[in-house]
């Protein structure tokens, strides 16, 4: 399938500012960083979660535990996908009981990834609360899921695709909208 870049939504400065704002909002809402765990959803949610944790440490001086969650084994579309994707490693800090788990992902779209992530978090224990931070919310929810912290809202059409690049994986920070060509 051929894609064509339509527009750039965020450059690296805007990404950085978005993450700083999200970090502040998390601290505000939870009155500090105590009892907060950041969990990045593989793949690009993970480096974003780490960066938010770094920012929080700069602001508050507190080290927030960071986990990485691979949701492959919890997906609801494994029967639809002819072949299953490989399972990446999940690495959760010890104990989610009573903590506020802030899930971090790059794009919120149908909500199915987050649903899978929540099911998986529940298998680790009983968090006090689960909150969701995303860099981009592009709409088109198929499940009743909403983000608590959003970097940018980007209304899109179904034919469009949001492409997020992060320094750690792709060499630069950039968010673009691409369109499928016929």
């Amino acid at each position: 399938m051929n894609m064509r870049e339509k527009a750039q939504i965020m450059d690296s400065e805007e990404v950085a500012r978005g993450l700083i704002r999200i970090a502040h909002q998390i601290l505000e809402r939870n009155r500090g960083a105590r009892d907060v765990i950041l969990v990045g959803i593989r793949r690009r949610g993970a480096p974003l979660a780490r960066r938010v944790a770094e920012i929080i440490e700069e602001i508050e001086g507190t080290q927030v535990p960071v986990g990485i969650l691979d949701i492959t084994l919890y997906r609801d579309d494994l029967q639809l996908v002819a072949k299953q994707p490989v399972v990446g490693k999940t690495d959760m800090p010890a104990g989610v009981d009573g903590k506020v788990v802030v899930l971090v992902d790059d794009v919120l779209f149908t909500g199915r990834t987050v649903r899978a992530a929540m099911d998986e978090i529940m298998d680790f224990g009983r968090p006090k609360a689960i909150q969701l931070a995303v860099l981009i919310d592009r709409g088109h929810r198929e499940l009743p899921i909403r983000a608590d912290y959003v970097g940018k809202n980007v209304p899109t059409s179904a034919r469009e695709v949001i492409s997020v690049m992060v320094k750690e994986e792709d060499g630069e920070d950039k968010v673009t909208v691409e369109e499928m060509m016929e």
Partner: protein
């Protein structure tokens, strides 16, 4: 590279890439057994039958736990108590089971080629849990995984397998596995238990265990069975263990970072003494732990797995040169 086979029958026919894809997948399954809820829903609703024609507690339990931790429904059949005794053929037994819409068959049988035979006859994936002296792929895979975990890699290692090679499927599968992963393999045992022309597979053959101990990075001991006494493969257990058993005395000549392995169950005092089995070089218990992760990975991949690059490509719907993520979930 991906693992796309319908069945897992043996390592001899597999490539290094296929073996690595199973080991890499297994890596991600290890922590599941550390969670408070040791379960992931990935095989939910699938039925796996463990059809064991040879008695085996540990392998069967390992498979059963692996299946349950992936949320599959499991059925255990110890075929000595089933219709096989009443004269039902292997083919009929398997077809009758398949008729109940099962999704995967794990089979252990005393005849070489039995798993392959069933794989040809059944539509569902077949996993060979041991067919006579031919192959035991998940055992070798967990052995490879354990060594990789313990030592960081397999390339360039010297691996010695000691014991009854002639009757051992574990030996054969490990010869293929370790060689394909870049290790050098040597065998050691009495001449009566060394198969004909085994050197043609690229292994070295020794009769003195003292010759391999200083050379080996990994020493794998095989179980010696009492039945072999009756067929005069060696005179007594005592003589066997004097010549080939691994004890602290012989271990003095071993490398300081040697890894000691055993597929179990141990004959303490025969092929290995308790001190060595329980000592700091032994990874025997880790083998059991990693066995679970490896079997989960194998079951997962047989039910339709594929490597990340391919899957990510599907999601991105671009060729390999593209970058960026598309979260379509």
């Amino acid at each position: 590279m991906k693992f796309t086979r319908k069945d897992l029958l043996g390592l001899e026919e597999m490539s290094r890439e296929e073996i690595e894809s199973i080991l890499d997948t297994a890596d991600s399954f290890v922590e599941i057994s550390e969670r408070p809820i040791k379960k992931v829903p990935v095989l939910r609703g699938l039925t796996v039958v463990n059809l064991f024609f040879e008695p085996s507690t540990r392998t069967r339990i390992s498979f059963e736990l692996a299946e349950k931790r992936l949320s599959a429904d499991t059925v255990n059949i110890a075929a000595s108590s089933s219709s096989a005794v009443k004269g039902e053929t292997l083919k009929d037994t398997a077809k009758n089971i398949e008729a109940m819409s099962i999704d995967m068959l794990v089979v252990r049988h005393r005849c070489p080629g039995a798993a392959r035979y069933l794989a040809g006859v059944l539509d569902c994936p077949v996993l060979n849990a041991g067919d006579g002296a031919h192959e035991h792929p998940t055992q070798a895979l967990l052995d490879l995984f354990t060594v990789r975990k313990r030592r960081g890699g397999i390339d360039g290692l010297n691996v010695a397998i000691v014991g009854d090679i002639l009757h051992s499927r574990v030996a054969r599968s490990n010869i293929w596995g370790f060689q394909k992963m870049g290790a050098e393999v040597a065998l050691c045992g009495p001449p009566t238990l060394m198969p004909q022309e085994i050197e043609s597979t690229g292994v070295r053959v020794h009769y003195y265990v003292e010759d391999v101990i200083p050379w080996a990075d990994v020493i794998m001991l095989l179980r010696i069975q009492n039945e072999r006494l009756e067929e005069s493969y060696f005179p007594t257990i005592r003589e066997y263990s004097e010549l080939f058993g691994l004890d602290s005395e012989k271990m003095k000549k071993a490398k300081p970072d040697v890894t000691i392995m055993h597929p179990g169950p141990l004959n303490r005092g025969v092929e290995i003494t308790p001190e060595v089995a329980d000592g700091p070089y032994s990874v025997i218990l880790q083998q059991v732990k990693y066995g679970l992760a490896v079997r989960m990975a194998a079951l997962y991949l047989l039910s339709g797995g594929q490597l990340e690059s391919e899957a990510a490509d599907q999601e991105r719907k671009v060729d390999r040169s593209g970058t960026g993520s598309r979260s379509n979930l």
